[in-house]
Amino acid sequence: MTPVHLALLILLLPLASAAFIALFLRRAGGLASAVSVTACTGLAVAALALAFGGERNFPASWEWLRLGGFSLSLGFKFDDLAALMLVIVGVVGLCVHVFSLGYMHDDGAKARYFGGLSVFMFSMLGIVFADNLFMMFIFWELVGFSSYLLINHYCEKQSAADAAKKAFIVNRVGDFGFLLGIVMCYWLNGTVNLTELAAHHVYSSWVPLLLFCGAVGKSAQLPLQVWLPDAMEGPTPVSALIHAATMVAAGIYMLCRIEPVMTPTALTVIMWTGTATALYAALCAITQRDIKKVLAYSTLSQLGYMVAAFGLGSLPSGQGDHKVLVAAGVGAAMFHLTTHAFFKALMFLGSGSVIYGCHHEQDIFKMGGLKSKVPLTFATFTIGVAAIIGLPFLAGFFSKDAILYLAFANNKAVFALLAFTAVLTALYMVRLWKIVFLGAPRSEEASHAHEGGLSMTVPLVLLAVLSVVGGYGFFFEKLAGSVAHLVPEAGGSDHTVIFVVSLVVMTLGAGAALLFYRAETADSLEQKSPGLFGALSALKESFDAVYNYYVAKIQQRFAILLNFLEQVALAGLIIRGFSGLVGLFGIGARALHVGSLHAYVYWFLIGVVILWAYAAGVF
């Protein structure tokens, strides 16, 4: 089996599974879940075989559509970057599929859920393999669709339906920019093939900035971040797979794909967008009381980290040469993407296990004391928390250090903001951890919490292992090949500075959270400092409030105005006006037909007179 066949198999396996479920297994939930999980296992095995088979950069491209001089091709670009992403998607996807077996066991619409998961795997793998921007856009929209489908899984709930719609519409805004970027890229360069673009392209900041709009939507950066927290209405495994580990990371992956066309201006914009998102989301996370919302804002914050890392670009010594303009940024961003995919998927699945154990209670202040009730979930979740706050020798520590070092070397202001964000990260993650797992059970559900079955614990353990080893050089290098060599590594005194800073920020945040928050029924911050708490809540609401105002007031009024113009000018004056004119003429003509022959003779006479007068030049 050649690598091309293997890649095709990986891509088409989930599609076949989705089609089979949609066509034949709509009523057979158990069978559908078996089919979907089998397909995902197959693709994960094939993905590992392909990624570690050693064969990379094989040519594979087929023409799909030709319109005059314009041709659209579908093809695979399988380099180290794609191999890394493929392994992440495959492994996390498999964990989530298996976890879903337990979590969704009693769900009434299992077939729809597992079919949706398969559609998602197919679309996500399409993005990973895409060798040109058009193909990427096609699958980009497909992941948007499958995300809509899965957020809307509990479609009988109004909030879920609203959240799905919101996610879809907000993503459209970003994707419009993405599409414009693709069109402009084609217009300027005559190609959208990633390899050809890397070799030769016109220098323009508009192309990367417009393409970045797509990443802003999909990776939920400011100002389009509003959909991600709401997307938590979907089932928890979906949040783990789509809204934490893979789909939202697709924006960062896409940026790394189009890295050659970047310009310093575009990078500056990207860097500040990422930094602002990281800080904003971390501030919002502090006041949340829904376990999944905390994790959602944490995801936003970490995505901001990755985008900022990409925007920081290369280390100072490499500047000037365009080839290495963003090399270190790609390394740091992809490194953090990898470790984040593991520990965030772990924490989401852990929260899923908690929610499952507590009979779908999501309020952290109604949990508590789960340490002894669900010990395995507690242990793995602790590893996840330790990884995200950057406890030394866990995955997040290495990748976060790489980003902090890059910021330290390039831009001290960004460094300061990211370091402050790291303090906040440690604060809200330890707060969550303490309130959920420590203390005494604070509700009936929490006191009867229980561990899920084997299908739910095995993925947790696997992801916990990955969250530990994912950050080590030997592991990441095996996975990512040349991308791993791009990761910036501090040396000498810088190394000490970064190490100390990351230890201090972690201790500061975690210590504050441990000392300040009590595992009680109310938020300590809300009680001790209502002003600060209110301000942070208002910060969270501000974007939604602005968008609501815009949609309800400005856009709606504009729509009413347009409707008025349409009714009056188009439907009223033009359409009804012309028909009225013709009707009037008809009424007049009908009046001439009086039914008397003599009248007709008069009409004839008048007609002749007019004709004569016209011929004689009277008028």
Binding site: V594, G595, L597, V601
Partner: protein, 101 residues
């Protein structure tokens, strides 16, 4: 005193007016039809007069055409009127308004 062109034209105009008002005022289809013929003949008279006083044959040629057409018209028109009378037992125009109602 010999008749000049104007005399012929006046006569032709009078005949035409006679025919025209006949068409306008008469109620009987047959009479209207006859008045129509009178208008045609009035115009032919004018044409013949023009031909005579101009010394050309143009007007005479027109007259031949008009007479031919008029003959054909009479044949068809009278046939219609006869058929109409057979069907409706009347040729008064105010009663011939089937299309109006």
């Amino acid at each position: 005193m010999t008749a000049g062109l104007n005399d012929y034209l006046i006569l032709s105009g009078l005949l035409f007016a006679l025919g025209f008002f006949g068409v306008l005022l008469r109620k009987n289809t047959l009479a209207i039809f006859m008045c129509l013929e009178l208008m045609l003949v009035a115009s032919t008279l004018a044409l013949v007069a023009f031909s005579r006083f101009n010394g050309t044959l143009d007007g005479d040629v027109f007259v031949f055409f008009i007479l031919t057409v008029a003959a054909a018209e009479v044949a068809v028109g009278l046939a219609i009127i006869v058929a109409l009378f057979r069907r409706r037992q009347t040729v008064q125009v105010e009663e011939l308004n089937a299309l109006k109602n």
